[in-house]
């Protein structure tokens, strides 16, 4: 109210009077008062907390970050030993959270899209199955689902000594799923670099193909060319590297399997739980997005002679995405934040490790600050990216 009247005051061009009756002055006065009050409250909270901590002789500060952690972490992307520092332990936690969030977001999007489209299917059975799936997943608490999957992975598979072996080298046991991976070789780093080069080259091919189509009308199989580049270049590098075929096979030694790549029950349960749960929400968003495109658009595209594929790609999806992206962003954020339930089933995510840290050091405020800072950074990054993408695909008004 104050702002709008300030605007009208400004339009009249009258000079500001130092009175609360003057709309411009009143607006500025209240804004300063609100900001000042806010700053005061924050200052009071911080100084009060610091004072209380001091009175109660509780250590504060960030020195603990460089101290030896002393505890072990079950799974980690980067090497971690108990003699490493707390800051490295927290980094392991952040990476573990990202590992489950990023893969979870990709899988949940794929699953949700299929289920969402499936719910619109004319096939009675398919649409019913998808409906039941969505209602089931959306209406059960995530924590319950996580416990369910966790118990499933634990109880459904035998112990490591009786592990199932569906194909040679792949083992299913209650210690997780073990698969062989190529043994370490210097060429792998170069292959990864080649893959990135291939993807970047794919982007340029796409630009070139568009420009060519605009001038000559000729089309180019951009998709297959990009796939070829992203996979072909690493393959060529692999050949140049001497085509190493040695594999790191998992083998039962002592209590457990050694070697190979492990998908632990905790990670699997968390990933499956998050993907199936969030997938249910994404399915509804996708369905809503597709239904939001008027049927006339499909008919118009058909009248122009477009085939089913291009019709979906060029007419339906671009319009549906505009509706889908904003709520989808929330689901991606939800998935990331929900990964913090990991501690309940023993996956060492950021919250789990930060909890251990704050318990060993007793510095709860710093520990919680690390958790909040990390989630805020990840969530805001996702937000920024999705908002950028949303702007890019938004309807351009000319």
């Amino acid at each position: 109210m104050a702002v709008s009247s300030a605007g009208s005051g400004g339009r009249r061009g009258s000079s500001m009077r130092l009175s609360l009756n003057d709309p411009t002055f009143r607006a500025i006065f209240w804004q300063i008062a609100v900001i000042g009050g806010f700053v005061l409250i924050v200052w009071w909270l911080i100084s009060n907390t610091l004072h209380n901590l001091e009175v109660r002789a509780i250590a504060t500060g960030w020195n603990f970050l460089s101290r030896e952690a002393g505890f072990a972490i079950g799974e980690s992307i980067i090497p971690f030993e108990p003699e490493n520092t707390y800051s490295r332990a927290l980094l392991v936690g952040i990476l573990n959270t990202l590992r489950v969030s990023i893969i979870g977001i990709v899988l949940a999007t794929i699953l949700g899209t299929f289920v969402g489209i499936g719910r619109l299917s004319k096939n009675w059975l398919v649409s019913r199955i998808c409906s039941v799936y969505v209602e089931f997943m959306r209406n059960l608490p995530l924590l319950v689902q996580l416990f369910f999957w966790w118990a499933m992975f634990q109880d459904a598979f035998p112990g490591p000594r009786q592990a199932l072996q569906p194909v040679p080298g792949v083992f299913f046991s209650n210690r997780g799923i073990k698969i062989p991976i190529p043994a370490e070789h210097w060429v792998h780093g170069w292959m990864a670099a080649a893959c990135i080069v291939g993807i970047v080259a794919g982007v340029f091919v796409r630009r070139w193909a568009r420009a060519r189509q605009a001038t000559t009308g000729q089309q180019f199989p951009v998709f297959w060319a990009s796939v070829g580049l992203a996979l072909g270049l690493p393959f060529v590098v692999w050949l140049f590297g001497g085509a190493p075929v040695a594999m790191d096979w998992p083998a039962l030694r002592g209590f457990n399997f050694q070697g190979g790549l492990t998908l632990t029950p905790e990670y699997a349960a968390l990933l499956v739980g998050l993907v199936t749960y969030t997938g249910g929400f994404i399915a509804e968003i996708v369905r809503a997005g597709i239904l939001a495109v008027p049927h006339g658009q499909t008919e118009a595209a058909a009248a122009l002679g477009l085939r089913k594929g291009p019709m979906l790609q060029l007419v339906i999806l671009p319009q549906a995405l505009r509706v889908i992206i904003p709520p989808m962003t929330s689901q991606f954020l939800n998935l990331t934040k929900n990964s913090s339930l990991a501690v309940a089933i023993g996956y060492p995510d950021l919250v789990s490790i930060a909890n251990t840290t704050l318990n060993q050091t007793g510095q709860a405020i710093e520990g919680i600050a690390v958790i909040m800072g990390a989630y805020l950074t990840v969530s805001l990054s996702i937000s920024v990216f999705m908002n950028w993408y949303n702007k890019r695909i938004a309807f351009k008004e000319r």
């Binding site: 002393g70 072990a72 079950g74 108990p82 118990a151 457990n256 909890n355």
Partner: protein, 342 residues
């Protein structure tokens, strides 16, 4: 005349009361004042470990740690039943004490230097000498913790357990994979399902689990290695010295009573004992309660209502199948020793 006499008597009484109070200069204790004002002790306890702190089906708490809470209530309020319990996880416990949510924390908590110095709390003694061990399935055929190389081990977060585990395997150059699960119930489920080869916590906790949480206790063995020192004890917030004294001497009174042979059954008949140590203990002489700002019957109330340490141990720990061991009195070759009450 009557009024004059009563005024005189009041004046004498006032002087008599004021002099010792003045002489002792009783330190202010906001915690004790708050407890007296609200009429009960708020005690942070475990809630999941039988023998230490566990409510039964009727919601009545019992355990060795719970008995310390009850003894403190008996000492301060004269009634052991005036306790309310807050069930705390390993992670919540220190914050609960620091923030004043509970008056004291008796939740099988290990006394360590860093906790004593940097967490803003004071440990007042050791009510159970424990050590960390491992439980494994008998079918695994393991006889020693040294054979656990490569094992997957379930452990609860936020405890010294997690650190000792890493230390032990580092020191013995063994490898292991931890699975850190927040709640005890899920840890036991993971161990029973075979997700973990072993579960580790204090030996007393393992005995409690073996006795009450597994289907067939005989299928599980606790390995002989005790890999750490775990002196478990009550703690209070720093900065309230008189309250810390009361909690400390409450537990010592339970030890002292055992040493003097005072039990909940015989303490009434001992009130007339001529043994000077017993006279001091039951409050007939010495005025030790008043020194702490308590009733002189404080220790009598503890023993009458809660019992001595041996009674508490017999009631709570022996059913788990744990012998007194190092928790015997020093006179019987154990570690339990209290400074004299005099």
């Amino acid at each position: 005349m009557k009024t004059l006499a009563s005024i005189f008597a009041t004046a004498v009484a006032a002087v008599a009361l004021a002099v010792p109070a003045h002489a002792q200069q009783l330190a202010p204790s906001p915690t004790i004042d708050a407890i007296k004002a609200r009429g009960f002790v708020q005690c942070g306890a475990n809630g999941t470990v039988a023998g230490f702190g566990l409510p039964n089906a009727q919601g009545v708490w019992s355990g060795l740690d719970v008995d310390v809470c009850r003894a403190v209530a008996a000492a301060v309020l004269g009634d052991a039943s005036k306790v309310r319990y807050t069930a705390l996880t390993a992670q919540q416990r220190f914050t609960a004490l620091q923030s004043g949510e509970v008056d004291l924390l008796v939740r099988n908590t290990t006394w360590t230097l860093s906790r004593d110095v940097s967490l803003g709390l004071t440990f007042t003694g050791v009510n159970f000498y424990d050590g960390q061990g491992f439980i494994v399935k008998k079918s695994a055929g393991i006889k020693s913790a040294k054979e656990l190389d490569g094992a997957t081990i379930c452990v609860q977060p936020g405890t010294t357990t997690e650190l000792n585990l890493a230390d032990y395997f580092r020191a013995n150059k063994l490898k292991f994979t931890p699975v850190v699960i927040e709640r005890l119930e899920e840890n036991i489920a993971a161990y029973l399902a075979g997700r973990c080869d072993s579960f580790t916590t204090d030996v007393s906790g393992l005995a409690s689990i073996r006795a009450s949480n597994v289907p067939v206790p005989a299928d599980h063995v606790i390995l002989p290695e005790v890999i750490s020192k775990e002196p478990l004890g009550p703690s209070v917030r720093k900065g309230d010295q008189r309250w810390a004294d009361v909690v400390r001497w409450t537990f010592y009174a339970m030890l002292d009573a055992e040493e003097l042979g005072l039990t909940s059954a015989n303490i009434d008949s001992m009130l007339s004992s001529t043994n000077p140590a017993i006279q001091r203990f039951v409050g007939a002489t010495g005025g030790f309660g008043a020194m702490m700002g308590l009733d002189n019957k404080w220790s009598y109330n503890i023993i009458k209502q809660v019992g001595n340490y041996a009674e508490s141990y017999q009631r709570n720990i022996v059913p788990l199948g744990i012998e007194r061991g190092v928790n015997r009195l020093w006179t019987q070759g154990g570690l339990m020793y209290n400074p004299p009450i005099r």
